[in-house]
């Protein structure tokens, strides 16, 4: 029996007066990689932000690990095991790679085992291991993206939401990153992925939802969607 990790029902969200999310319902089971696809402006990023609690006006239901979290602030959602890697990576200027990683633990129960956690994460991200004392923003875009993922993963969340991780990154690093997602999944992390690179995303995903104008217009297994050129053409501008 699949165990639901995240269950969203009739989620609505507003930016000021504009109704940007309309009756979104989706589910992510434990251990799955679920992908949100759709054109720019379809509401993918907004969906992730609303799940993380970063959109002020929202209604509906977001149940994470059997608890309603719609009203909870972002930091409480993190404490319950929900992590979010925003689109622009958001590596903090003026901090070293190590400090950025430490930042992923400051609010975590695992804070006391900081040194060990950093060693562990450095094994998974060898590129970061070589650069721990370097100022983080001096790294390449791909390395910064790795750091953003590592920073979100170091507290070992149950579900991690990734927004456009491959954007603006060298192809060789993109492959490395998607291998990493597969490994994260095999180690039990659940992933909700927003990705422009549809073929690549569907290749590692179990299921996908297609968004258009703030609504879910289609859902299918990743395999079925990979083969469905009509849907891909219509909603994903590929």
């Amino acid at each position: 029996m699949p165990e639901p990790m995240l269950r969203i029902r009739d989620l609505n969200g507003w930016y000021g007066p504009s109704h940007v999310l309309q009756d979104i319902s989706l589910e992510v089971d434990r251990g799955e990689i679920v992908c949100l696809i759709g054109r720019n402006g379809a509401g993918k990023t907004t969906t992730l932000k609303t799940i993380m609690g970063l959109l002020d006006r929202r209604s509906g239901s977001v149940i994470f690990k059997e608890e309603e979290i719609l009203a909870a602030p972002a930091h409480v959602r993190f404490a319950r095991g929900l992590a979010y890697v925003p689109e622009e990576r958001r590596i903090v200027q003026g901090l070293s790679v190590r400090e950025n990683l430490r930042l992923g633990l400051v609010a975590s129960k695992a804070k006391h085992e900081e040194t060990r956690r950093i060693e562990d994460i450095a094994r998974i991200f060898p590129r970061l291991a070589e650069r721990l004392e370097q100022e983080a923003v001096t790294m390449s875009g791909g390395e910064q993206q790795m750091l953003a993922i590592a920073r979100a993963m170091i507290a070992r969340p149950d579900l991690v939401m990734l927004d456009e991780p491959s954007e603006g990154i060298m192809p060789v690093l993109v492959d490395e990153m998607f291998d990493l997602f597969r490994r994260m999944k095999s180690e039990g992390t659940t992933i909700l992925l927003v990705e422009q690179n549809v073929e690549l995303a569907l290749a590692i995903a179990d299921r996908a939802y297609v968004l258009d104008q703030g609504m879910i217009v289609h859902q299918a297994s990743a395999q079925a969607l990979l083969a469905d050129d009509e849907i891909k053409e219509r909603y994903c501008s590929v």
Partner: protein, 294 residues
């Protein structure tokens, strides 16, 4: 150049550093609060003034200066946290002018309340016995208390630096000043951090007011004067930059004391001239980031 010997100038330089030390303490609190909360705290001078009065009150109750050095920052910082929690916090997210107007109004209320409680005229504040007199610093005799002010400021700065660089909470502050949202999605309750930063900033202002009391006496308006000068310091040093506040604070102190030696009639305007020059050459200040307010 009779009378304007090297020793005199050197002594005046030290006087400037002591004066600058007060500016530094005042301005780092202002900078810390602005850098983290984007609140321009117009009540910062009032917290400074309350620090001096709190010291006056504690001494009149039988406390001594050394107790005040610990108790005054705690009292003023607690008061600052109450102000942040109940007055400033409801205004976050409404633009920079709301908390500015609030703290501006609050400073008038604080000054008026002090006038009601302590009267409109000032009080002298005795230099603690242990710090009276002068010591030979090589270029002449220098008041021991001013040396103490410089030393105490250095201790606060080192403590603050260690706190920001070496502790997890300091890491949160440094990251949160750049990007509060990422700190939030990494599980930090940012509103708690803001509360504590406001508390630290106002505690240091109270501490500065106490240190200044034996130098200048205590009057209800003492905060207004230093606030104007401290804004020069933050503009010259760069808004939100602690390093900038330290460098500019000392520089402004030295400029004030040197101009009062060489051209006393220019002492009041010299720092504004300094500010104008810095703004022309480097509009963001020594260490400021350009476009911070946009």
């Amino acid at each position: 150049m009779s009378g304007l010997s090297f020793d005199l100038i050197a002594l005046q330089l030290f006087t400037g550093l002591a004066l600058g030390a007060i500016y530094v303490l005042f301005a780092i609190g202002l900078s810390l609060i602005f850098g983290m909360l984007t609140v321009v705290n117009f009540a910062h001078g009032a917290f400074y003034m309350v620090g001096a009065y709190a010291g006056l009150f504690l001494v009149s109750m039988g406390g001594n200066f050394w107790i005040c050095l610990v108790a005054v920052p705690l009292l003023v910082g607690t008061f600052g946290m109450i102000v942040e929690r109940f007055l400033v916090r409801p205004l976050y997210g409404r633009g920079i002018d709301y908390p500015l107007l609030l703290t501006f109004g609050l400073s008038y209320i604080m000054v008026e309340l002090i006038r009601i409680a302590f009267g409109t005229s000032g009080y002298p504040f005795d230099t603690p016995e242990l710090l009276q007199g002068a010591v030979d610093i090589g270029v002449g005799y220098f008041p021991l208390y001013r040396l103490f002010v410089i030393g105490a400021t250095a201790v606060v700065l080192i403590g603050l630096w260690l706190f920001l660089e070496r502790t997890s909470f300091g890491l949160i502050i440094r990251a949160g000043a750049r990007d509060p949202q990422i700190v939030r999605v990494l599980g930090v309750d940012v509103s708690k951090v803001w509360l504590i930063v406001f508390g630290i900033g106002t505690a240091i202002a109270g501490f500065a007011g106490l240190l200044a009391a034996p130098l200048q006496g205590v009057i209800p308006e003492m905060g207004a004067t230093i606030l104007a000068e401290a804004f020069v310091v933050t503009v010259v040093g760069g808004m939100g930059s602690i390093g900038g506040a330290v460098l500019a604070g000392l520089l402004v102190g030295v400029v004030v004391s040197m101009s009062s030696l060489f051209a006393p009639e220019m002492a009041k305007v010299s720092i504004f001239a300094l500010m104008a020059i810095v703004l022309l050459i480097r509009p963001q200040g020594f260490f400021g980031r350009a476009g911070l307010m946009s």
